[in-house]
């Protein structure tokens, strides 16, 4: 096997040094009756060239991302990543190392995490962020669990439109601990209905969860929602699926959010059919010891040199076992690196410009598509880079007809909401030029 550096004669020498003749003897502790007598039924080993050809053929069975025009978002976003991101990601010093348990040998990873934590805090307007979580959906589950622990209360209010996948994951991960999720539907304008929210809060509410921008793209007003949560003695959790929005929108922490969490896939992480992505979580300083997952802090050595270490590990499962804040062991280190390089490369100006552009293109598209006869934009309020388009009839067949022309006209909302059979959730980012947007409008007009 080409990945194994032991020659047949070296293997014999190793065996001889152990006084063994047959390698099978090494497995004597596995009862004979459980030993495989025949080889596993797997495809025959492939040479590298054949392997690449085999997988390339599979990759080509997917829609060609270059010739197709794809307007999908809904928690996974198409953005351009500067070449420097994947270049750094490809350094074996980063991808073939492991968790920085030994700080003196892992300063590269540790300092990167410290920089990541800092930038996430700057975006969120909060004091501390962890080294990353699996993805946005499980980050929300962890945030809900944090509120449940911190407040010792069992009810969590979901305000307005929060990503259905996030809610599904949160239900799975919290239901066995007695957490109850309760939804407060959005108002007629598509935004959080503050009066209904107010009425839903009570003495056993641990947290209010709001998504910014909402699952349907709407930019929410966080301030009053956070006030309502605090008045009920609950935490305000802001979930973000489109991290690019934080380059333009006011930091949720500055508006009263206690926890800001979500998905940072937009920051240089490939779509890759849904993963690996990058969950993140930031909190106010009073909740630092309730944070799940890894944290990096500053430290000094004996001669006063500055370095970075994993810290506050007593929160974690390898020390606290069943009393840990979470069962998380790994984070998403490599995706965290991608996001750190991406954020640093875009920088202060680029992050803002990118956000402004996403919004400009989406507003342009919303305007254009909304003017197609029979089509309607149900909510007029401000959106970031996604919006709902209502068609004159069922959306699914229209969506299918456009797919035949190589256009993916967003997401038929029926997938998550059976009652929204006529609606599409359209996403436009900086990868969509004016011509592509106009072509989408023309194609849609034609198939209607």
């Amino acid at each position: 096997m080409r990945y194994i550096p032991t020659s047949p004669s070296e293997r014999r020498a190793l065996l001889a040094s152990l006084g063994l003749e047959r390698v099978e003897t090494l497995f004597d502790s596995i009862p004979e009756k459980f030993r495989l007598r025949a080889p596993l039924r797997l495809p025959p080993a492939m040479a590298e060239a054949d392997l690449v050809a085999h997988l390339r053929k599979m990759a080509e069975q997917n829609l060609d991302p270059h010739t197709a025009s794809i307007f999908l978002g809904a928690g996974a976003y198409r953005h351009f990543a500067p070449a420097v991101v994947d270049h750094i990601l490809s350094r074996a010093e980063f991808y073939s190392s492991y968790t920085p348990y030994q700080p003196e040998f892992s300063q590269g990873t540790l300092q990167t995490i410290f920089e990541f934590q800092t930038m996430i805090c700057q975006l969120a307007g909060l004091d501390a962020a962890n080294a990353s979580l699996y993805d946005g959906a499980s980050a929300l589950a962890e945030g809900v669990l944090l509120a449940h622990r911190a407040k010792r209360r069992n009810r969590v209010t979901i305000a307005g439109h929060v990503h259905p996948e996030y809610l599904a994951v949160t239900r799975t991960l919290t239901s066995t601990l007695g957490v109850r999720l309760e939804s407060v539907p959005a108002g007629a304008d598509g935004a959080v209905d503050r009066d209904r929210l107010q009425r839903s809060l009570g003495p056993d509410t641990a947290a209010v969860v709001v998504q910014q921008p909402s699952f349907l793209g709407r930019i929410e007003e966080i301030g009053p929602i956070a006030e309502a949560a605090h008045a009920a003695g609950a935490l305000c959790i802001v979930a973000v699926t489109e991290a690019v929005s934080m380059g333009l929108l006011k930091a949720p922490g500055d508006l009263g959010a206690d926890v800001v969490l979500g998905e940072a896939q937009s920051f240089g992480v490939p779509l890759s059919f849904g993963g690996p992505y990058l969950g993140f979580m930031a909190v106010r300083s009073e909740w630092v010891r309730e944070l799940p997952g890894r944290l990096v802090g500053q430290a000094k050595d004996a001669s006063g040199r500055l370095g970075y270490v994993l810290t506050l590990a007593t929160r974690e499962q390898h020390i606290r076992r069943e009393r840990a804040t979470s069962n998380i062991c790994t984070n998403e280190g490599l995706m965290m690196l991608a996001a750190t390089v991406f954020m640093a490369t875009l920088g202060k100006q680029g992050m803002r410009e990118l956000a402004l552009q996403n919004r400009a293109r989406a507003e342009y598209a919303r305007n254009l598509l909304g003017q197609i006869p029979g089509c309607r934009v149900p909510h007029a309020g401000p959106v970031f880079n996604e919006f709902v388009l209502e068609l004159p009839g069922a959306a699914a067949p229209v969506h299918r007809r456009l797919l035949d022309q190589g256009v993916v006209a967003g997401l038929p909302l029926e997938r998550y909401f059976p009652e929204r059979g006529r609606e599409l959730l359209i996403c436009v980012t900086e990868v969509h030029g004016k011509a592509a947007i106009e072509q989408l409008a023309a194609s849609l007009k034609e198939v209607l």
Partner: protein
């Protein structure tokens, strides 16, 4: 924040310290359409305070310099026990980046993502064959999430029979994630003490098995690298009280292609693609922790599942007993591609050779080091060997000193102070990826350190001496945590 001048190794400053107002590292694609109508000022901010401003040139250099402060698997032996730091084949990185995969949106219509569905279907099939389980979910993003998924399914299974039960039995040598995952599923954890062999005592297990036990979580080979040879009897005893057996498959590398957990009576297990199946550890993730089940648990698998369609494959969520979702979309697909590539590169014979070589290497290290280093359990080792600092105690030298000194010899230390049942444990897992030369160099270093412990213990207490920073004071770092840069804001 000022830092002392370091003549030998210049400290690489933080992005924020290097930042200069007005610099930029990227331009955004041109937009020749109209601007959006302005937003209410209450909703927006003019800038992100403290955010860095650098050129692309400086970014590339910064992260290149940072990378060189890491020791990585491609530098040399990385013998972290329980982590299976094997070689990450380069072709895996190439195939995962094929545009058809890398740019596939998870919500594409199924006819537009048949290639991805095929990779998933194939990988599920391979994993079933390798482990002897009936069905797999690829959704969990890591081993711990796999554990949660598996135990959550166990709970659903018992609930459907009218009683979720209350207790999860876990040996005291288990990974910390086991009790944490069980707790997250609403269970109470009871520990089983290991016997003098370092294994689960069948006698004690039988005494502890009652009608309120939901599941036994077993790691096999366990964290001492010892195979629980009574696994057949253990599974029978657990099943006899209506409970199930969960296998923590972190150590599957030890017997891949040699034997299968599914044939031993295991009902549910996870496998770590970032261990046995070579996907890169990435400085701490991403991982992937697919979970395999026997037929009795398949109704509870997370959704969506990949099922046959009229042409090709489709996703189905029509499984009313499913525990739901544990991860957004379908999990870490990029890791699925890499693992599938690895299995295809190896074939059946290659996988068996992996286990054989991994076990051979671990036993070679054990033979060379035992005696000089204390061997707390003499049971036969499979893929890893656990030593301790007992022989060095009289010189005042501890495991931590040995670990730190190893860096001066150019090796990453093993896992230390785990499993908890061994005082001052050194947990060494060479994997199949190391040549005899590398193993010998490691042995020489370990033996030299043992000599130094006797002759010059101070040298060890102050180690490491040759790393970018010296031994860092983790205790005071935790007392007054500095978790982000605050200067200049």
């Amino acid at each position: 924040m000022s830092s002392p001048r370091i003549p030998a190794k210049r400290r690489e400053g933080l992005l924020f310290e290097k930042s200069v107002s007005g610099k930029r590292g990227a331009d955004v694609a041109r937009w020749d359409g109209p601007d959006a109508p302005p937003l209410d000022a209450r909703l927006t901010r003019a800038e992100i305070p403290g955010f860095p401003e650098l050129s692309e040139r400086e970014i590339a250099r910064h992260f290149t310099r940072l990378s060189k402060l890491n020791y990585a698997n491609d530098d040399g032996l990385y013998p972290l026990g329980s982590c299976t730091m094997k070689y990450n084949p380069k072709v895996n990185e190439k195939v995962a980046r094929l545009e058809g995969f890398a740019e596939a949106h998870p919500l594409l219509p199924e006819e537009a993502s048949q290639g991805c569905l095929q990779v998933m279907a194939d990988l599920e099939k391979y994993l079933c064959e390798i482990t002897g389980m009936s069905a797999f979910t690829l959704q969990p993003a890591a081993g711990a999430q796999g554990e949660f998924t598996g135990i959550r399914m166990v709970r659903a299974y018992h609930e459907q029979r009218g009683d979720p039960r209350q207790v999860v039995l876990i040996p005291d040598s288990a990974h910390g994630t086991n009790p944490a995952s069980a707790h997250l599923c609403g269970y109470r954890v009871e520990e089983i003490a290991s016997d003098e062999r370092g294994c689960v005592s069948l006698k004690e297990l039988k005494e502890r098995l009652r009608e309120d036990v939901a599941v036994l979580m077993l790691t096999n080979p366990n964290t001492l690298g010892v195979f629980e040879r009574e696994i057949g009897e253990i599974c029978d005893a657990v099943h006899a009280v209506g409970a199930l057996v969960y296998l923590d498959g972190a150590n599957l590398n030890a017997f891949v292609g040699v034997a299968r957990p599914g044939d031993m009576g295991v009902d549910v297990m996870h496998s770590n693609l970032h261990k046995t199946f070579s996907t890169p550890h990435g400085g701490g993730g991403p991982g992937s922790g697919p979970v395999g089940v026997k037929e009795i648990l398949s109704p509870y698998l997370p959704v969506p599942r990949v099922v046959r369609a009229e042409a090709g494959w489709r996703f189905s969520s029509e499984f009313p007993s499913s525990i739901g979702k544990v991860h957004g979309f379908i999990g870490n697909f990029g890791m699925h591609v890499r693992a599938a590539a690895y299995i295809l590169a190896n074939g059946a014979a290659g996988l068996k050779e992996i286990a054989e070589t991994a076990v051979l290497n671990a036993n070679y290290l054990r033979r060379k080091l035992e005696g000089t280093y204390h061997l707390p359990y003499s049971s036969p080792s499979l893929h890893e060997v656990i030593l301790s600092d007992k022989n060095l105690e009289r010189f005042g030298v501890r495991t931590l000193d040995v670990a730190k000194r190893l860096m001066d010899y150019g090796f990453h230390p093993p896992t230390i102070y785990f499993p908890l049942i061994v005082k001052g444990a050194l947990m060494i897992e060479p994997t199949e990826s190391e040549s005899i030369e590398e193993l010998d160099a490691f042995v020489d270093a370990m033996l030299a350190i043992a000599r130094e412990a006797e002759e010059d213990p101070e040298l060890l207490h102050a180690a490491p001496h040759s790393t970018p920073v010296g031994r860092l004071d983790e205790a005071s770092a935790a007392r007054r945590p500095v978790l982000r840069w605050r200067g200049g804001e």
